[in-house]
Point group: C2
Chain length 386, copies 2
């Protein structure tokens, strides 16, 4: 891709994102819904103004890393930990219920066991990016319900990795490996604990050193460098990069120059984050959403209903007073890119066929697109605290 | 390139850039020299910590576009135009002298005419990026000498394109085309005049409209969108993208929210611009700098001397009082990536052989690396005005 083409693609992505985001805000929706729809519109399968490319994909990945870093910076580790047990309960229900419902539905529909396991696994994912962005758009990140959702979504991401490893192994070898599962879970938890503990211990010293630097822009570069380093480490040990970025944000949130970092990160996030949501939208093939073909409509509808109900059930795990069950339940619904990865692996390993893949993708998209307006309705009437 | 690898590369690039930049500032040099050296060190030919990739290349290109946009934002179109005649004189001497000296040296050394023309053409380039960054590091962008250098460097970029087109045609077909040259020059000047005139006419209205937006981060995204759009257009019509970015900066510099845009662009530039200078350094192959091989040392030395002298002569074109001739002359010396492109085309078209290519690359690198410390010395004693 030449430089001119890349710059033009970026210009189109930004223009579409801002126009659609603004339009959505004007009609009382969140900007992120506009960015997703803008992506569908300009994507290769509708208007074809922008094509997917390795570079756009990389910029989008940097965008979601920056988003989770920013969300981490705005979060309070102490409060996340205090909501920890609550988040854990929500996360486990939010994995168990969708899996059981998806598996049951598939078996009842006459699918083979392995296929049913894959369908169940795809339903367990939670996309922390969508919900975090919606809560941020609504100015609700600092509320208790938001902390429960964020904590549960991060745990879900880790559990999702465990399930992904187990299911991939099952698809490729037919063997269910509990050792693999335990190993991944242990690695992920150890990484998080060690990274955050070391970070909190040494970050203040490092930042004082950065404070003595004369070169321009040292604070923002070292802050993003720390984020990118933890994200890369996180990816290297098999976790999602966004988990490392979130941990980096949590660490720097407890340091003295936090407000300065947040202020300087804002324009960077303003530029990069929309690229991520627009490219998520670009992956949508409206042709694949045709549920009327081959009589698959009823299964797609049932699957989507189960996907929504399974995560709503997670809200029932809320035992703390003052934390809205509906808000937590709805906040867990979006599958986003995580669900697409699951479905893609199933397709690549020929566990599921094209028609079932289309049904899963439809489920992922519906679950992703309904959440911004739904949360907006749930938060109507009360005022944001951020 | 996987996400983890990309993030790790970025982390290494930023760490090396900041550490080396800081070290250079501590010993009284400019940060940009540190970033260039950091690139040589971590590049594939020395430590091999980071490898060139399409994505890093794209981020670097975005970096230099952002840099010229920022330089444009900090410039005053009126003062650039008032220095216009002075800049034009400097630019023409800075093209004619190096070409004549390079051509003469090559003929005297017994090279064929076509090769001599190529050598002369490679010597005409000026890298506006290096000098603009040094002046910015030194806090001197708003001085008259800086305006003369910036104006002349932009004109040199346009003249360079004309020469590049003529010389490429000559290399490929053996025919010298004056029509092509005139066409490119006309296109470039018309683009600049029309873009800036339309921009100044309509930008205030568009920015007032952006000011009414509710979505977060509208100002920075629309400002960068405008920059990227002009850069893409500029690239599309055959001009360098940085010329369009500089024009976009000049336009927005005259609008009311200029200070807000500058403030928000700063962290974005802090992150992206070093990526450009580090990757310029990464392209250096120290093995290629071995001028002792094949007895080419004397020619390489003569070529480099001629390259420096030819651009220093441009300083003699300064007739305005209070504009330092040495500062202007030295500011025109760096060839940067433009010189490398010329040499590369010569090599690709087999006009020049590998040994001559090495000599040209050495000349480009020496001319690029000596300027930051040299300008630093020239500005010692007087205080910056920015």
């Amino acid at each position: 891709m030449g430089l001119g083409e890349l710059l033009l693609s970026l210009a189109i992505v930004w223009l579409a994102a801002k126009l659609a985001g603004e339009a959505m805000e004007r009609v009382g929706q969140t900007a992120v819904l506009g960015e997703l729809l803008a992506g569908v519109l300009i994507g290769p399968r509708v208007l074809g103004l922008v094509h997917e490319s390795e570079i756009l994909h990389a910029l989008a990945e940097i965008g979601v890393v920056i988003l989770l870093f920013e969300i981490g910076l705005e979060s309070d580790l102490g409060e996340l930990l205090r909501a920890g047990l609550q988040s854990t309960v929500v996360a486990f229900i939010g994995v168990a219920c969708p899996f059981a419902l998806g598996y049951g539905l598939a078996i009842w529909w006459g699918k083979p066991t392995l296929v049913a396991i894959f369908i169940g696994a795809t339903l367990t994912a939670t996309s922390v990016g969508i919900t975090a962005r919606v809560l941020s758009d609504l100015g609700r990140l600092r509320e208790t319900a938001s902390r429960v959702i964020l904590g549960a979504a991060v745990l879900d991401d880790i559990l999702g990795l465990v399930i992904l490893a187990v299911v991939t192994g099952l698809a490729q070898t037919g063997v269910f490996s509990l050792t693999t599962a335990a190993l991944i879970l242990a690695k992920a938890l150890i990484f998080l604990v060690v990274a955050v503990a070391l970070g909190i211990r040494f970050a203040p010293t490092l930042l004082r050193w950065v404070g003595t630097m004369r070169a321009r822009g040292s604070l923002i570069v070292y802050a993003v460098l720390f984020c990118v380093l933890l994200a890369a480490l996180s990816e290297r040990i098999g976790l999602a990069a966004i988990i490392g970025a979130f941990a980096a944000g949590l660490v720097l949130a407890r340091t003295e120059p936090r407000a300065h970092i947040e202020e300087r990160l804002k324009p960077v996030a303003d530029l990069f984050v929309p690229v991520f949501f627009v490219t998520v939208g670009m992956k949508v093939d409206p042709g694949m959403l045709n549920p009327f073909g081959d009589g698959a409509l009823s299964f797609t509808l049932a699957l989507t209903a189960v996907a929504v109900l399974g995560k709503l059930a997670a809200g029932l795990g809320v035992y703390q007073r003052g934390v809205g069950r509906w808000r937590v339940g709805v906040g867990m619904i979006p599958r986003g890119e995580v669900g697409l990865i699951f479905a893609g692996i199933g397709l690549a390993n020929r566990v599921i066929e094209q028609e079932l893949y289309s049904a899963l993708v439809t489920m992922v998209l519906v679950s992703t697109f309904i959440v911004p307006p739904w949360l907006k309705v749930l938060y109507r009437g009360s005022r944001g605290t951020d």
